[in-house]
C-alpha cells in the first residue's frame, strides 16, 4: 500500500467515531499496544524535547528505505506516533518527503500537530523529514 492509501485507511477507521472519547480511547489503545523503543535507543541523542511530553526517535537506513522506531511518554502522543510510524516507517526517502501527514488533520486532531503544542510531535515529523532529506542526498550522490 502507498502512504496515501494507509492514511486513507486510518481516516476511515476514525470516521466511525462520533464521540471524541472513543477517538481518544483508540489513540490510547494504539499507544498501549505499541512496541516500546529498544532501550539502547531511548537516549538523549534521540530525544525530541517538548515542554509537555517527550518523544524518542531512532532510524536506520537499509536498502533504500528508512525504518523508524519511536516512543513517547504520553499515551495520546504515543498513539499518534504509532500512526506516524505506520505511514512513514519502511519507506524510501522520496516517499517520506513527498507526503504530508494529512490524516491528523482529517481525523480532527490537528491541534496536536500545531507549533503551539509543545508535545514534540511536530518536531518528530520535521526530524523524520530531515532524515529522509539527508538520505536522499546520500543516495543521489552514490548513484
Amino acid at each position: 500500500m502507498t502512504i496515501d492509501e494507509i492514511q486513507q485507511e486510518i481516516i476511515d477507521d476514525f470516521a466511525g467515531f462520533e464521540d471524541w472519547m472513543d477517538k481518544y480511547s483508540l489513540l490510547i489503545e494504539l499507544g498501549n499496544e505499541m512496541a516500546p523503543i529498544d532501550v539502547q535507543y531511548k537516549v538523549d541523542e534521540n530525544l525530541i524535547r517538548g515542554c509537555q511530553s517527550r518523544v524518542w526517535l531512532h532510524q536506520e537506513y537499509l536498502d533504500g528505505t528508512i525504518t523508524f522506531e519511536a516512543e513517547s511518554d504520553a499515551l495520546i502522543v504515543k498513539g499518534l506516533v504509532a500512526l506516524l510510524l505506520k505511514i512513514y516507517s519502511g519507506r524510501t526517502p522520496h516517499e517520506i518527503l513527498a507526503s504530508e501527514p494529512r490524516f491528523i488533520d482529517e481525523i480532527g486532531l490537528r491541534q496536536h500537530l500545531s507549533p503551539t503544542r509543545s508535545n514534540g510531535l511536530l518536531a518528530m515529523v520535521k526530524q523524520m523529514k530531515l532524515y529522509a532529506l539527508a538520505y536522499e542526498k546520500i543516495s543521489t550522490k552514490n548513484n
Binding site: W20, M21, Y24, C51, Q52, S53, D73, L75, I76
Partner: protein
Amino acid sequence: MSFDLLKIRKDFPILDQKVNGKALVYLDNAATSQRPVQVIERMNEFSLKTNGNIHRATHTFANKTTEAFEQAREIVRSYLNATESAEVIFTSGTTESINLVAHSFGDAFIHEGDEVIVTEMEHHANIVPWQMMCERKGAKLKVIPFNEKGELSMDALDSLITGKTKIIAVTHVSNVLGTLNPIATIIEKAHLKNIPVLIDGAQGAPHFQIDVQALDCDFYTFSGHKIYGPTGIGVLYGKRKWLDQMPPFLGGGEMIDRVTFGKTTFNEIPYKFEAGTPNYVGAIGLGAAIEYIQSHDHSVVLKHEQNLLQFATKKLKTINGLTIYGEASKKAGVLSFNIEGIHPFDLGTLLDQLGIAVRTGRLCADPVMDHFSVENMVRSSFSFYNTLEEVEVFYQALIRLKTMF
C-alpha cells in the same frame, strides 16, 4: 461590600462560554486570571478618548495620560501601603522586576565570593536572573530546601545565612505547591544580619493583601495579568534606600536627567528605572484591576478561595492513585497532582475536551519536578470567581477520564 458569586461572574463575561461544546471551567488562574469588564472598559475608554505619550508634551491628551498613569501608580502605592509612590516602578511583569533587581542591585552590591539565597520552590524567573548575575560577578547561589509537605526549612535558612549573604529572594506563594511561605519570619531573620529580601509576589498578590511597611520587605514584585489586570504590566516595589543606590537597568528616554556624549546623569526614582515609553495603558488597566479587587471584602474573598482549595483537595484525595504535591499547612488556591499511569499531557488534553482548563507540564519549576522525581504535573488553580460546582465538575471529569486508561 457583599460577596455575590453570581454577580461577580457577570463581571467576567469570558467565563460564560462553551469550550469544545462544554461549559467552560477555568482552573488555570495561576497562569493568568481573567479580566473583569471594569478593567476592559477602562482600558478601552482610555484608548478611545485619551491616548497620548506621558511626561513628554504639553497637549491635553499627554497631560491626561500622565495624570492617569501617575494615578495608577498611586493606586498601587496605596494597595501595597508603600511609603511613597516613587517606590513603585512599573515593569512588564514579575520577570522583568526580578531581572531589574538582580541586575542593578547585583551591580551595586554583589562582588566576587558573595552569596545570594533563593529557595528550592522558586519559579525559574526567581532563579535564572540570580544565576546569571552570580555568574557575572563570581558570586554563589545557595538554596533553601523544602520538605515533603512543601514547606521551607527554616533551620536550613539559619545555616545558609553567612557574612557573605547579600540578598535573599523568596517566593510569597509557590506556583506549584501553593505553599504560603513565612515571609515575615524570613525577612525578620535576614534583617537581623542587615540582609535585604526580595519577595516574588506573582502568586501571592492575587490571593493575599500586602502591606510592604508591615512586612518590611525590601523588594516586592508582581504581575498585572495574574491579578485580573492586563498582560505586559507589572510592579516592582523597592525601598527608596535601595533604589536610590542602584544604577539604572535599561537606558533610554524618561530615565535621564541630562544627556551629553561625555556623560549622562539620571532621573530620580521611579523614572530612573522606567526607560522608554512605559506600558501606560497596562498600568491604567492594572489600576482598574486593583480598584476592582478593593471593591470586594478581602476576608470573604479569601475564605471562598480557601473553601475551593479545601473542597478540591478533599475530593481529589478520594481518587485512587492520585498524588497531591504540596500539602503545606498554609496554602493558596493552587493544587498540583499526578494520577498514577496517566501522563499530564494526556489528562490536560482530555480535560480540555470537557471544557476544563488546567495547566500541565513542568510549570516553569524544574527543581520542584526534580524534588518529587517527576517529569510533569497537572495544576489546577482557583480564583474567587470559581464555584464549588466547578470543582465538582472537575472531580467528576477526573473520575470519568481515569476509566479511559
